[in-house]
């Protein structure tokens, strides 16, 4: 089944994770005919297939609230739009604060969220225990909750975009690695891959943990790096022990139960070191187990069946880098999601496609251009770890 190699295209996207697949689908939907997506592996082999796929609108800046809510709205209708189930479960995110200052911030966030149409609220401990029947958080000082938050299946969501994009004529080449980018006179001209070259006036860097390496091939210095995050999954238990996503910034954890019954839990590495390896540690396994058993004591007898790790692509202000390079015309970037690239994928892919096709986007994202780092205009988002 030798597939035909396209020697030129209108747009070449590097990376078939949630970002690349969402951008490709949205470009095709906007009528772009000749879109090619290359991936050095298979779709979802990067961070996307390793993530917890949590989705929330509980953010602390206006832009992130807008993006989070817009993404939620897309996800709520995605099965219908793409014709494939994406495993969406909206059990809400229950945010847990252990410090007064943290709770104050969460309350401010809720006020902002409410002003933007997000129906999040502060909940009492009694309510929190109703939302999460097996929760024990006596040391917590406060909780906030938004019932539309939740999680999805990262494989199904990405494949749904991938399949719908293919049906609209997008070409996907797997096992095809980008090795260099052709730039001439300040404009991008095409990509060189392990399987041949493709000429294109527009290249999109959606290479996840490796996006800064791809940018460097075009002579662009992106201040991004990647760090390893570990995660574990248990055997399935009766659904309902943790119907919401439990999340705490100061507690440094997130815990969810997938509809199939397994508990998935993870935390951030201490000190956030740069790390491109994908190893697993005992330290994480023991630490995470302690956290789970302390929060959900009834789960002590549940077995961990698997642990793995994946990378967060981090930016200096933990906000994504989206937009066209001002140094190399035609070079677009969608990276630096700092651990939130799954939930933003549906909306960021749509906005970047709009930007490519029309030059503007329906939600303004100019501030997400990487030139903000040079100007020192970092975005202050209080709702990240």
């Amino acid at each position: 089944m030798a597939e035909e190699w396209k020697r030129s295209a209108d747009v070449v996207i590097i990376g078939a994770g949630i970002q690349g697949c969402s951008i490709a689908y949205n470009l095709a939907k906007l009528g772009v005919k000749d879109v090619v997506v290359i991936d050095k592996q298979i779709p979802t082999a990067g961070s996307t297939g390793r993530c917890a796929a949590g989705i929330r609108a509980q953010w602390g800046t206006k832009m992130n609230c807008q993006l989070g809510l817009a993404s939620l709205e897309i996800l709520e209708n995605l099965h219908e739009e793409l014709g494939m189930d994406i495993g969406l479960h909206q059990g809400g995110y229950l945010m847990v604060a252990y410090k007064e200052s943290e709770f104050e911030q969460l309350k401010k966030n809720v006020a902002l969220q409410n002003s933007l149409g997000i129906t999040s609220r502060v909940v009492s401990k009694e309510e929190a225990y109703e939302i999460c029947p097996t929760l024990s958080a006596e040391d917590a000082v406060g909780f906030t909750y938004h019932h539309r938050d939740g999680h999805a299946d990262p494989f199904l969501t990405t494949i749904a975009y991938h399949k719908a994009a293919s049906e609209k004529g997008v070409r996907f080449y797997k096992f095809t690695e980008c090795t260099s980018i052709k730039v001439k006179g300040g404009e991008v001209k095409g990509v060189v891959t392990t399987r041949g070259e493709i000429d294109a006036p527009i290249i999109v860097d959606a290479a996840g943990p490796y996006s800064q390496h791809i940018a460097a091939m075009a002579g662009i210095n992106l201040p991004l790096y990647s760090e390893r995050h570990e995660i574990l999954v248990t055997e399935p238990v009766e659904f309902g022990v943790c119907p919401c996503m439990l999340m705490s910034f100061s507690g440094n954890y997130y815990i969810q139960q997938r509809p199939i019954g397994s508990i998935i839990a993870g935390c951030s590495p201490e000190g956030h070191p740069e790390d491109y390896s994908l190893g697993n540690t005992w330290n994480f396994l023991e630490h995470m187990s302690r956290v789970i058993v302390r929060l959900l004591p009834k789960l002590g007898g549940v077995r961990v069946v698997r642990q793995w790790s994946g990378m967060y692509n981090m930016s200096p202000d933990k906000q994504p880098v989206i937009g066209e390079s001002k140094e190399v015309k035609g070079f677009y970037i969608s990276a630096g999601f700092s651990g939130h690239g799954f939930m933003f994928g549906p909306i960021s892919g749509k906005l970047l496609a709009e930007l490519i096709v029309t030059g503007t986007s329906s939600i303004p994202i100019d501030v997400l251009n990487y030139d903000r780092f040079e100007r020192g205009e970092l975005i202050e988002e209080p709702a990240v770890v």
Partner: protein
């Protein structure tokens, strides 16, 4: 029912109840690696961890792509880890 239809109805992955027809349809759409089929259909993720279905699926991929089975990527194999209870892991030395 034709032979083809009968074959399509055969359950290939018993743990996840996936038929040959479903597998053939996804391979025909271009999802022709074991890992892609696993991500889409959960084949190989059941209690038997693919012992019951992996070989049949790899053979089907090879047949449809017209390549020898040895050229089909067997997929990431996660050795059957020994499941350990959370409370045991939580009680390890050096607790908080």
């Amino acid at each position: 029912m034709t032979e083809e239809e009968k074959e399509r109805n055969v359950i290939v992955c018993r743990c996840e109840e996936i038929t040959m027809g479903e597998i053939r349809d996804w391979i025909a759409r271009g999802y022709d690696t074991f890992d892609e089929l696993k991500h889409i259909l959960r084949v190989g993720m059941g209690p038997c961890q693919g012992r019951g279905c992996r070989e049949i699926i790899l053979r089907e991929i090879a047949k449809m792509k017209n390549v020898p089975v040895s050229q089909v990527d067997p997929g990431t194999f996660r050795p059957p880890s020994k499941p350990v209870k959370l409370e045991l892991l939580a009680k390890k030395e050096g607790g908080e």
